[in-house]
Amino acid sequence: MNGAGLLLRREMALAWNGGGGPLLACGFLLSLAVIVPLGAGPQLDQLANLAPGLVWLALSLASLLTLERLFERDFEDGTLDLLAMGPLADEAVVGVKVLAHWLTIGLPLALMTLPVGISLGLAPDQLPLLAVTAALGALAFSFTGGLGAALAIGARKGGLLIAVIVLPLFLPPVIFGAGALVAQADGRSPGPALALLAACVLVAGVVGVLAGAAGLRGSRT
């Protein structure tokens, strides 16, 4: 297997066996699906207005929560040194790690938004759009998160720092993602918002990989 495949496999195995991140994050999303409607009681239909915002908020937080350890453990136990001595450039290392994060956390979370959407009273014909935007948005979150985690390697207050770095960069996908759903619900075309979301993903991908690699290089002191 080539380097990228090996690293991807390792990262995914670590995500599933190490911290239980994916299931925790999914559980977090799901619990929202259970408890919010319980609290809402009879006014469930009014909840539907909140639904896009709530789902996207939850999605972004769930992604954020699993990011802290993206590079920190590797930094502490010397894995980053090993990774620097292998076949992949820093950019590719960041890219593969981010991809693994998306595959193990982002995609499951995107799937999980469906039951959440349903239980929050989202119209059934909105669900396909929700799934697509959530998957795209999660990818953008993973990229920006990777950037934040790489820049924060070895910093004091690592977790908080990542949140602060990442928060402004998380806002656009949230706005456009929720915006697409709102537009569809209002009978407008979700196309423009969707296009903007895709643009966010692209920009996040390029910038995340480049800046993440710069963060990796900077951590070598």
Partner: protein
């Protein structure tokens, strides 16, 4: 130009500018403020139009200062010159203050004009992002005890943040938002009533002078601090040798 990159030259050349800049900034601020109170009320907006003179220059300078910060970061990443890092750091406080002021005055203005404090549209959101970027830069810059590492990481983030500038600037043209489209700086000349234009321009100049004054003062303090540190280090080395 590049001679200025030497901290000592920089200090020598800019030193005499600082005090005049503070005086100019104060004078312009006072003139602009007085003038702003004497412009006629707007037919549509009534008295609230006066927010314009605080809001617009704050928003413009919030953007421009981030531009200066981002370019300093780029400069630092290319030349690894610590003056560039110091310049970026010195821009954070005035920039964040201006941006915060634009957000607050905008929200205050939005309530009477649009009937809401806030909407998540492109202009307002991207401006909020700008504010958060200032904070993120400052927090990241302070999060390492290794200075070089901190400067590098923060510069990367500062550079990344530059992407947001055109988004803020052109958000009103690219997307339909509640926010006023550009009337001052746009292709085809300004469309603002001269009665508002002049005090506005004076306020702009005042904000700009104020920024320069704060920026240069901070930079000078930083250069002095480094000189003291270097001197102490030299002293310590000499002490060890005797």
């Amino acid at each position: 130009m590049f001679g200025l990159a030497n901290p000592d030259t920089f200090a020598r050349v800019t030193r005499p500018l600082i005090a005049p800049l503070w005086v100019i900034a104060a004078g312009l601020l006072i003139t602009g403020a007085v003038w702003a109170f004497r412009v006629p009320e707007d037919a549509l907006q009534g008295d609230t139009v006066r927010i314009l003179f605080i809001h617009v220059p704050a928003a413009s300078l919030g953007l421009a200062v981030y531009g200066a910060l981002g370019l300093s970061c780029l400069f630092y990443l290319i030349f690894r010159h610590s003056l560039a890092d110091a310049a970026a750091r010195a821009a954070v406080l005035p920039g964040a203050a201006y941006t915060g002021l634009a957000l607050i005055t905008g929200a205050l203005w939005g309530q009477p004009m649009w009937g809401t404090w806030w909407v998540w549209d492109a202009r307002l959101t991207s401006m909020l992002v700008l504010f958060l970027l200032y904070i993120a830069y400052a927090v990241l810059r302070g999060a390492f005890d290794d200075e070089g590492r901190a400067a590098r990481a923060a510069s990367v983030l500062g550079l990344v943040g530059l992407i947001n500038l055109p988004i803020v600037k052109f958000s009103v043209d690219w997307w339909n938002t509640l926010h006023q489209p550009a009337s001052l700086l746009r292709a085809g000349g300004t469309s603002l009533d001269p009665a508002y234009l002049w005090p506005l321009l004076i306020m702009m100049a005042a904000y700009f002078a104020l920024f320069l004054a704060i920026w240069l003062t901070t930079l000078h303090t930083e250069i002095m601090r480094r000189r003291v540190l270097a001197m102490r280090a030299r002293q310590a080395r000499e002490d060890r040798h005797v």
